[in-house]
């Protein structure tokens, strides 16, 4: 039905021409779901934009053919393409809230598409739009018709985007990272809905994702992309079980999954022996009846409703839960950037929860509790180079100057595996993994006893994530730090943490040793979380033998 031959896409940039896609070919049969997987920059999204001919300015198809039901889409006129878009091929995007016009009612946005393609008239558009919303199982569709995107949850917005895409009954749907940024249970709901709709309507689909588990679960066939080329294609069950191409193997290896050791994520040639870390018996941090209430527009919001837990010295504790469960509020209170409403935070035998956040800035213990932030790009000052970013806490809290400061920064760079020549670079000149290293280096600059890691790998590709997770494991063993690892990814938590705390609606629903909680969850919510996580592909036989060694 869709046939892509030797497709190349080039972008004109200030630094000359960049080939984003370099001669890829694939076919799609009616009713088939093809998954395109790859890491960022592999050209998977650009491929889909090229099919739809909605490339950004400066981008063009430099060679190849795209044939859709016998029609040449590359040669089609712009007005002919408009007939195809939305009516025959439609697309859904990542970050659904941004993908909808923020100041137009969702119902009207659906009407726009329906009327554009002659599927509704002025008289029946309203009714048809509500039908489209009902098709994606939105409750109270007539009421939601009048909602603006900002009034809907992320999952609801993605349903609206799907409704928009399916409104005119297309034959092919392209989903570009459809669930990035959604919670894990929402992700499952959205993917299941999408799968059902595709099957019911006998449509074909292309699902673009970086998540191998997701791709393996929902696609019939997979294509692995790297640097603008397809390196391997195959049936989804088969491809990951027996990867032929080294890159596919690397991806599969790097994907966190149950039953492997953290070292197994790395390619075999750079695996180092696992360093054990000692969990002491002494409690480093005790949280007692911690409560945070925010004043809200419609009454107070109870973000954290009295939680209790203890973190022992040298222990790594995972804090998991979905957005809005209070895990970020909790970590902000522990790192003393936010004042608790009530309750106590006992650190190293002293109550610090009562010290106002501004005063704690000048407290001697400020350097002992540090944090690695979620988005390495946003949390670094864009006008500070890597050296200054790492040196800042040393200057302010460590009172280091001159040669001693330079020596310490170099030492930290070495410790976190950041090449020394990169210290003079600015954040925009560093890759995601390098920025993550800078973020970690500055957090450990003052030799903290307790480090809070707020989804430190959420924005990273799996292969980089594997390296950063291993770096964190090494640092923990070498420096004897205690971690609180905040994450939504249960598989990552399983790899790194000894103990896990599951939060829902501001309360701890379950906590215990990682293996016990993950393998035999007692609370239904923990079970739901574990079930919602896409099952990563079965590890290839070779990796298993490696792990056994």
């Amino acid at each position: 039905m869709l046939s892509v031959k030797d497709l190349s896409v080039a972008f004109r940039t200030r630094k000359g021409q960049v080939d984003a896609v370099r001669g890829i070919s694939f076919d799609l049969a009616p009713g088939e779901t093809l998954g395109i997987v790859g890491e960022s920059g592999s050209g998977k999204s650009v491929t889909s934009y090229a099919l739809m001919r909605i490339l950004d300015a400066g981008g063009r198809i430099s060679q190849g053919d795209v044939s859709w039901n016998g029609r040449d889409l590359r040669a089609a006129s712009e007005s002919a393409m408009r007939q195809v878009r939305g009516r025959e091929i439609s697309m859904i995007f990542q970050n659904p809230r941004a993908a909808l016009n923020p100041i137009r009612k969702v119902g009207h946005q659906i009407e726009d598409v329906l009327r554009q393609h002659g599927r509704a008239t002025r008289a029946n558009a309203h009714e048809k739009a509500i039908e489209a919303l009902e098709a994606v199982k939105i409750r109270d569709a007539a009421g939601r018709y009048h909602a603006y995107p900002f009034e809907l949850s992320g999952g609801m917005c993605q349903r609206v985007v799907i409704a928009l895409a399916l409104a005119c009954g297309p034959k092919l749907m392209i989903a570009d990272e459809p669930t990035t940024g959604l919670d894990i249970t929402t992700q499952k709901a959205v993917m299941d809905l999408m799968g059902d709709l595709i099957r019911e309507r006998g449509m074909s689909a292309i699902v673009i994702t970086h998540d191998l588990g997701l791709a393996a679960e929902y696609c019939d066939r997979l294509a692995v992309m790297k640097d603008g080329q397809i390196v391997e294609t195959g049936a989804s069950g088969d491809l990951f079980a027996n990867p032929r191409h080294p890159y596919t193997r690397k991806l599969v290896d790097a994907t966190p999954r149950p039953g492997v050791n953290i070292r197994d994520l790395l390619p075999p040639e750079i695996r180092t022996p696992d360093l054990p870390h000692d969990v002491g018996g002494r409690a480093l941090l005790e949280v007692v009846d911690l409560v945070k209430i925010y004043p809200g527009k419609s009454g107070p919001v109870h973000a954290v409703k009295g939680i209790n837990f203890t973190i022992r010295e040298g222990q790594s504790v995972g804090l998991v839960g979905e957005s809005g469960c209070g895990k970020s509020t909790t970590s902000s209170m522990l790192v003393r950037l936010l004042d608790p409403t009530s309750g106590a935070v006992v650190f190293d035998g002293h109550e610090i929860g009562g010290i106002p956040a501004e005063r704690f800035l000048r407290d001697a213990r400020r350097g002992q509790i540090q944090m690695v932030f979620q988005d390495a790009t946003d949390s670094l000052n864009p006008r500070h180079n890597a050296f200054d970013s790492i040196a800042e806490p040393l200057r302010r809290l460590g009172a280091l100057r001159g040669a001693a400061l330079r020596a310490r920064v170099r030492e930290l760079a070495h410790l976190t595996g950041l090449p020394e020549h990169l210290l003079s670079r600015y954040p925009h000149q560093l890759s995601g993994g390098q920025k993550a290293r800078v973020g970690i280096a500055r957090a450990i600059a003052l030799d903290p006893k307790f480090l809070i890691l707020d989804e430190p790998t959420a924005a990273l590709d799996v292969s980089i994530q594997a390296v950063v997770l291993n770096l964190l494991a090494d640092l923990r063993a070498r420096l004897g730090m205690t971690y609180l690892f905040v994450s939504h990814d249960l598989n990552v938590v399983r790899l790194l943490c000894d103990h896990v705390i599951v939060m829902q609606d501001g309360q701890i629903v379950e906590q215990g040793p990682t293996a016990a909680v993950m393998d035999a969850p007692t609370h239904p919510y923990t079970r739901e979380l574990l079930n919602s996580a896409p099952k990563p592909p079965a590890p290839p036989a070779a990796a298993l033998t490696n792990a056994a060694e």
């Binding site: 909605i54 939305g86 697309m91 909808l100 100041i103 554009q116 928009l164």
Partner: protein, 341 residues
């Protein structure tokens, strides 16, 4: 939709403390001005006694709180006091001069928007094309030439050399009669009167000063429109709209432009504020009987009542403009609720 009006009403109530603050500050500011009005008005040949007489007549011999009380009482009755310079009530002066300034400012802003917004949109859509470059040249020229210079240049070309424009002396040539006063805007009043001759006369007089001001205000509006359109056009929802097959027209105006409108409206409000202030130079060049030149003269002569009246009128105008801008935000963007501010 009664719930929608409640926040608007609340926003209106919020302006009351601002207005009270403005009254106090305008009073205090005027007292803080250097120069003694009593000495000024007693004249060259004044004796200490006559100065004291004038002081008593002006009410300046009383204590500040007393003066303020008297000022407020008069204000509540709509009495802004007597201008010593013109000898007329300040309210009357403002009532004749404010519409003149407003007519000029609004016409120039309208003109400016009519050119700047399409230009900005075009420049954004065809980024890097000749329209974009033209926009950049026009914008740079607009801000870098001071208004009194463009004004004089326009007079030189269109009045002196070409003779197309009437003599730059006020709002209406002496051959016409002032239209019967309804709004104080000559263009509107003459139309209401059905007097097309006066209308064209007034329009001709208005053209040059309005163009002068428009050239000056073109820059920020065009720049902001271009930037806002570029931001809007590169958003995810534009890509969604394109992928859904909507026409470029619908995408551009229905989706991008409405989203770009918000920063443009903000800029418009700011431009309006500073143009009302920058008016003085243009009013002087074109002998326009506006509020700017009135204020400068009052200031030079330490005419307390007139200065106070001017400051108050301007402040109220700004409050009103901000209110209108806030209300139009709410119309454009459903995300903005008044209660959140």
């Amino acid at each position: 939709m009664a719930t929608r009006w409640l926040p608007i009403l609340w926003r209106l109530v919020q302006t009351i403390p601002v207005v009270i603050g403005v009254v106090i500050i305008s009073f205090l500011l005027t007292r803080a001005l250097p120069g003694d009005p009593a000495v000024q008005f007693a004249g060259q040949m004044a004796t200490p006694e006559s100065i004291e007489q004038v002081r008593a007549a002006l009410g300046l011999d009383k204590s500040l709180p007393q003066q303020f009380l008297i000022y407020c009482q008069a204000l509540l009755q709509g009495d802004l006091g007597q201008s010593v310079a013109t000898g007329r009530p300040v309210l009357t002066d403002l009532a004749t001069r404010l519409p003149a300034s407003l007519e000029l400012t609004l016409t120039s802003l309208l003109l400016s928007c009519l050119i700047a917004i399409p230009l900005g949109v075009l420049a954004a859509v065809r980024q890097g094309s000749w329209v974009d470059h033209l926009c950049r040249v026009l914008v740079t020229a607009g801000v870098s030439l001071p208004t009194f210079f463009t004004g004089i240049l326009l007079i030189y070309i269109f009045y002196y050399l070409l003779g197309w424009a009437p003599s730059p002396l006020g709002r209406l040539d002496f051959v016409y009669f002032d239209p019967p006063r309804v709004t104080g805007f000559f263009l509107i009043d003459s139309l209401l009167d059905g007097d097309l001759r006066t209308f064209t006369g007034a329009a001709k007089q208005l053209a040059l000063p309005a163009i002068t001001l428009a050239l000056f205000t073109l820059a920020p509006i065009a720049r902001m429109t271009r930037a806002a359109m570029l931001t809007a056009l590169s958003s995810d929802y534009i890509r969604t709209a394109c992928a859904a097959g909507l026409t470029p027209r619908k995408v551009l105006f229905g989706y991008a432009f409405r989203n770009a409108l918000l920063p443009v409206v903000t800029t418009l409000g700011m431009v309006f504020s500073f143009v009302l202030g920058a008016n003085v130079l243009v009013e002087k060049v074109f002998a326009w009987p506006g509020i700017g030149s009135y204020a400068v003269e009052a200031l030079v002569q330490s005419d307390y009542a007139a200065v106070q009246g001017f400051v108050l009128a301007m402040a109220l105008l700004f409050v009103l403009i901000n209110l209108i801008i806030d209300l139009s935000y709410a119309l454009i963007d459903p995300r903005i609720g008044f209660s959140s501010k």
